[in-house]
């Protein structure tokens, strides 16, 4: 009996042991699996993690003492699916989990995934008021302009002082400390005094709000709204304060007005979402938040709001409660029904549970609404230049006048000291080493160099407020820039010759500008003519030069290597920005009549021989200097008699012959090769005879 008893006990122990072993084995197997799932999740292999977590969840299903682990596993499963983009499936699992309630923060993976989905292609480029601050959308107050040409309120500049780039165009903003843009400030004060006052009231409201004085803040916003009706910035803030005062219904109305006026502004949807949530309309609140995210440039700070909104739609009790609240409200509004709250609550709890299944449907609605909004924003062609239509006094041409050229500003740029000039007017000041003409502060490298842009505000204001003037000014500039074909700049210096190199030292500021322009417009050409003392002006004949190479020094001077392209005759004279402009006719030799060809050939050969003789009289040193500057004497071309400027060697000779400037000009302007050869011959005769004696 005892033996049997002992045996039985042993058997029982064995069974227990076996059973225990099996359990531990299974459990440790699951534990291993959990570890692997975890690793897969952490290494962002969400597909694998989904599979593994799914297995874990099903294997642990029957184990009663693993509730905590089970919850973690379910989250792991749902989070893996959310991260791999299976939003609908993930939401189903979350819905199951939240049936029993959980904290909103555990929805962060779903929230992040949703934000990612809503923001897949980035926010669509939204239309904007071209005259508003690019940071806050208000009329620019104490405007400062950035190097990219956009302007912002001084306050907004300070707020964005850490970002190196403009939020509108992404270009570099330039240095941070800067002065108020004097011109824009004047224009803003002239055109929008009411807006400025309204903005100041809004600011006061904001600081009162921050200080917790809600009622006083509301009064300021109301006063601001009275000055400039339905201004989205004011309404959005008023919506905020109204919500804080528990006046959700009016807060919602303000948010909806904001959206109506600025449908592309994410903040309107954000305010709407909060108001709706406060009214218990959580589904709509979630959709509004999705719209906000779809338009927001940087939606990630909204993750927490997303968690809360999701939490509200997933939690059955909250849904039921809010639904009940909503029903009661509506009942009270219709007021013809007796209050049967408990029954309603029960009904609605049921209905809410039923709708739990349709939470997936809500996801679909949300994504669709956001997509539709992005599409609408992209295709919206409405102009939103509200400010240009709300000016209180009419714009005048003198408002946009450049103090330097007294014309309407063209391609305006602003210095760091806040003064605005035409692009070329400022260039001229820099060429003359002038400080800022209006305040005498130095013109720094930034404005002098390439980091400047046309002042967007002034360009846009001119085109919107004085379209006719803007069109005319544009036309004038186009005509002027088309001019180089008819009119060329003239560098008054000495006589140059066709095909002959001509190094020039440019130090006068006005000619620096001329050379820079010649290099910028692709022709790289300008004219050169000698100054004739006797006539008190530059010669009637000159040479068109082409810039081959330019070497600038930091003093602003430069050495420009040019070569003669063609001869010209001055038809009329003018000037531009301090240098000369001339309308010219390019010169070409008259063809040599057949009967004269023989004579000209003989003359040509004679002059060439005489030239060699003269050269042989020159000292070795002198000859090598000539060769260094002008090269060797060019060979005779086969068709020398038919070339537009005749044989090249004659011009080479002209460049080195010791001739008076008037004589040089005379020969340059002669279009008969025969006459030119005779003139050179005479000179050489004179020079060599002197040498022979």
């Amino acid at each position: 009996m005892n033996v049997l008893k002992v045996l039985l006990v042993q058997l029982l122990r064995l069974l227990v042991w076996l059973w225990c072993r099996k359990r531990t084995k299974q459990q440790s197997g699951t534990m291993n699996l959990i570890g692997v799932a975890h690793d897969a999740f952490n290494s962002r292999d969400y597909g694998l993690a989904t599979e593994l977590y799914k297995k874990c969840v099903s294997e642990l299903d029957g184990v009663a003492d693993a509730a905590a682990t089970r919850l973690d596993l379910q989250f792991g499963y749902a989070d893996s699916m959310a991260n791999s983009g299976r939003l609908r499936d993930a939401v189903a699992v979350y819905a199951r989990i939240y049936k029993r309630g959980c904290v909103p923060d555990r929805l962060r993976h779903l929230a992040t995934a949703l934000i990612g989905a809503l923001h897949a292609d980035g926010p669509p480029p939204a239309p904007f008021d071209p005259l508003a601050c690019v940071a806050c959308g208000s009329v620019p107050r104490q405007p400062v302009s950035w190097n990219c040409g956009h302007c912002v309120c001084l306050k907004c500049d300070q707020k964005h002082s850490r970002d190196a780039h403009c939020p509108r165009c992404g270009k570099s903003k330039g240095r941070s400390r800067r002065e108020v843009n004097v011109l824009i400030n004047t224009l803003v004060q002239k055109f929008w005094p009411k807006h400025l006052e309204a903005a100041a009231l809004r600011d006061e409201g904001n600081s009162l709000f921050k200080g917790g004085c809600l009622k006083e803040a509301l009064e300021k916003y109301n006063a601001s709204d009275k000055l400039v009706k339905d201004y989205p910035l004011t309404l959005a803030n008023r919506s905020h304060v109204l919500l804080s005062l528990n006046r959700a219904q009016v807060a919602l109305a303000d948010a909806e007005t904001v959206i109506k006026i600025w449908p592309h502004w994410p903040k309107g949807y954000f305010r709407k979402s909060l108001a709706l949530s406060s009214l218990g309309r959580h589904d709509d609140s979630l959709i509004a938040l999705a719209c906000c995210i779809a338009l927001e440039r940087n939606p990630h700070p909204l993750r927490h709001d997303m968690c809360l909104a999701l939490h509200h739609v997933l939690l059955p009790t909250l849904r039921a409660k809010s639904a009940n609240f909503w029903i009661k409200r509506r009942k009270r509004a219709s007021s013809d029904c007796e209050d049967s709250g408990d029954e309603d609550l029960h009904q609605h709890q049921q209905r809410a549970r039923a709708r739990q299944i349709t939470v997936q449907g809500l996801m679909d609605r949300m994504l669709k609404a956001a997509e539709q909004l992005q599409k609408n924003t992209k295709s919206d062609k409405r102009s939103i230049d509200f400010l240009s239509k709300e000016t209180t006094s009419p714009a005048e041409v003198v408002d946009f006048e450049c103090v330097l050229c007294s014309r309407t500003l063209w391609r305006p740029v602003t210095t760091h000291c806040g003064h605005t000039y035409c692009w070329t007017c400022l260039d001229r000041c820099i060429d003359y080493n002038h400080p800022c003409p209006l305040c005498m502060s130095p013109l720094t490298e930034g404005v002098a160099g390439s980091e400047r842009s046309v002042l967007d505000f002034v360009e846009k204001a001119l085109s919107l407020l004085l379209p006719e003037e803007h069109r005319q000014r544009q036309q004038q500039e186009q005509e002027q820039s088309a001019e180089p074909q008819r009119r060329i700049p003239v560098f008054v210096c000495t006589t140059g010759f066709p095909g002959t190199p001509c190094p020039l030292f440019i130090y006068e500021p006005r000619y620096r500008l001329m050379i820079r322009r010649a290099i910028q417009n692709e022709s790289r050409q300008f004219g050169m003519a000698a100054y004739l003392e006797t006539e008190g002006r530059y010669a009637d004949f000159g040479t068109l030069l082409e810039i081959r190479d330019a070497l600038s020094f930091n003093t602003g001077c430069s050495i420009v290597t040019c070569v003669g392209i063609s001869r010209f005759k001055v038809l009329s004279r003018g000037e531009k920005d301090g240098y000369n402009l001339a309308q010219v006719e390019l010169l070409k030799d008259e063809p040599i009549p057949d009967e004269r060809l023989e004579v000209v050939t003989a003359l040509h050969n004679e002059v060439r021989t005489r030239a060699h003789t003269w050269l042989s009289f020159l000292s070795e040193k002198c000859r090598s200097e000539i060769e260094q500057t002008f090269g060797c004497m060019p060979e005779i071309e086969d068709d020398w008699f038919a070339l537009p400027d005749g044989p090249q060697w004659t011009w080479w000779l002209m460049a080195i012959l010791p001739l008076g400037s008037k004589l040089k000009v005379g020969i340059l302007g002669t279009t008969s090769l025969e006459k030119r050869l005779r003139a050179i011959n005479k000179t050489l005769e004179h020079l060599t005879s002197r040498n022979i004696i």
Partner: protein, 151 residues
Amino acid sequence: MCSLPRRIIKETQRLMQEPVPGISAVPDDNNARYFHVIVTGPEDSPFEGGLFKLELFLPEDYPMSAPKVRFITKIYHPNIDRLGRICLDILKDKWSPALQIRTVLLSIQALLSAPNPDDPLANDVAELWKVNEAEAIRNAKEWTRRYAMDN
């Protein structure tokens, strides 16, 4: 066919339409860059009652370069030499292209009211002005009477 820059046209128009009190500046018939200027001697200065002729020329690169101004009427002043050249900083290194003909002439008028013998151009005049201001002022009045009041 020399086109006149808009800046010069506008300044001339304004000088004609809203002349500066005590100053007249009229462009030459043949050269729009050359102005005949008459400055009235300021009240309570030794130049009171005098009409001083000046010439003003706008160089080709005006307003990047300052206008060239010279007294034609002889004047006894420490900052104006025998040739009528004027020692005024804004006509030299302190020139700014935002200044105008109008501001230049106003500065010259102010210089007549407040001679500055510490920054002289005519050294002998300046010397006397510093050593014996009464005599200098007498001389200035005498010159004004003799050269600036002939009509």
